[in-house]
Subunit: 198 residues, 2 copies
């Protein structure tokens, strides 16, 4: 590539965004410089500010710029039910169902010994302290239905049970709206095992 140094630099910098390769980055740069400099300036400010100021909620570990996130700080939420998820995006996914009134704990990952991610990286000290406050009556494990997510759920379940607190796992089964023919065998097998009386 042989654009001007500032353009080359911006193309390279855009590659830090997931899913952005050299051609896409080039297209973005020309779009911004030719058609939307105001948008580019605004993006630079929003980015600088978010990267500098967004930290983690001291209680649930989700991303937020205050010491307590708006969910932990919301006293109309049921503070006795704790839903454990892997990422802030999962918090949003559960919130969008509109059916959950409790609070969250965000692991920011899952157990993955091969990548060197152990319990201490998932905020287990904070999680244990939360359980020992004695306020929590139920812990819902909503980690991903993947091998690592299941292993993490298993680990957390032990930890919660030891403290005689109720612990549940979100249901596995056939997704709503799907067709049996196209659902993978593992999911269907679990759905059969976990069948419920009508």
């Amino acid at each position: 590539m042989s654009f001007s140094p500032l353009i080359n630099n911006l193309i390279a910098a855009l590659r830090c965004l997931p899913g952005v390769g050299p051609k896409t980055a080039q297209r973005m740069v020309f779009h911004l410089l030719e058609r939307d400099r105001e948008g580019g300036r605004h993006l630079a400010q929003a980015l600088e500010e978010a990267v500098t100021k967004v930290g983690r909620c001291h209680q649930c570990r989700t991303l937020c710029e205050e010491s307590l996130c708006y969910l932990c700080n919301n006293h109309s939420r049921d503070q006795t039910v704790l839903c454990v998820v892997e990422t802030p995006a999962d918090v949003m996914a559960v919130e969008q169902t509109g059916g959950y009134r409790g609070v969250y704990f965000v692991l920011m990952g899952h157990l993955s010994p091969l990548d060197g991610i152990g319990p201490e990286d998932l905020g287990m000290d904070l999680f244990r302290a939360r359980l020992e406050q004695g306020e929590i009556k139920e812990v819902i494990l909503a980690t991903n239905p993947t091998v690592e997510g299941e292993a993490t759920a298993h680990y957390l379940a032990q930890l919660v049970k030891e403290r005689y607190i109720q612990v549940t796992r979100i249901a596995h089964g056939v997704p709503f709206g799907g067709e049996l023919e196209y659902i993978d065998g593992g999911t269907l097998a679990r759905a059969l095992v976990a069948r419920a009386p009508v």
Copy 2:
């Protein structure tokens, strides 16, 4: 959406990038905040700097931060052959062929009366002045092979011919490596008309 205000703001700001919708923007934000804050900070700086400092070459109108771009400023280039393209990305496309040693003129668009884009928006004053300097011996029209690109090439051809300067258009024909079966009829028809003796 109901993340923290700074996160919401960044998600909205990222939507100014072409091809980035709400889900992609959300994924980018979480990636940057959870895994690559340094990259985000660097991107913010590169963006701010490019948006503020990148202007246009005073001679060829391409995007660059100096008053003359590195191609116009390169005296080993043949300053008597002028290739007219629509965008800075097209300059790169021609440069990457490695076969062109002349200089460029960048229209920054094409004639499009419906969008209110007339000759004055394509730097025609600068283009005429360039022709009248008397240095240019050939103008190569490399606007896109689209309806607007062809119309623009036609307009430019008139302008150059009036000044008794040689004017050429890049060849239309079947793209190299393609199969006739899959080439559109219009292209094939033009390739037949423009057939050359072997």
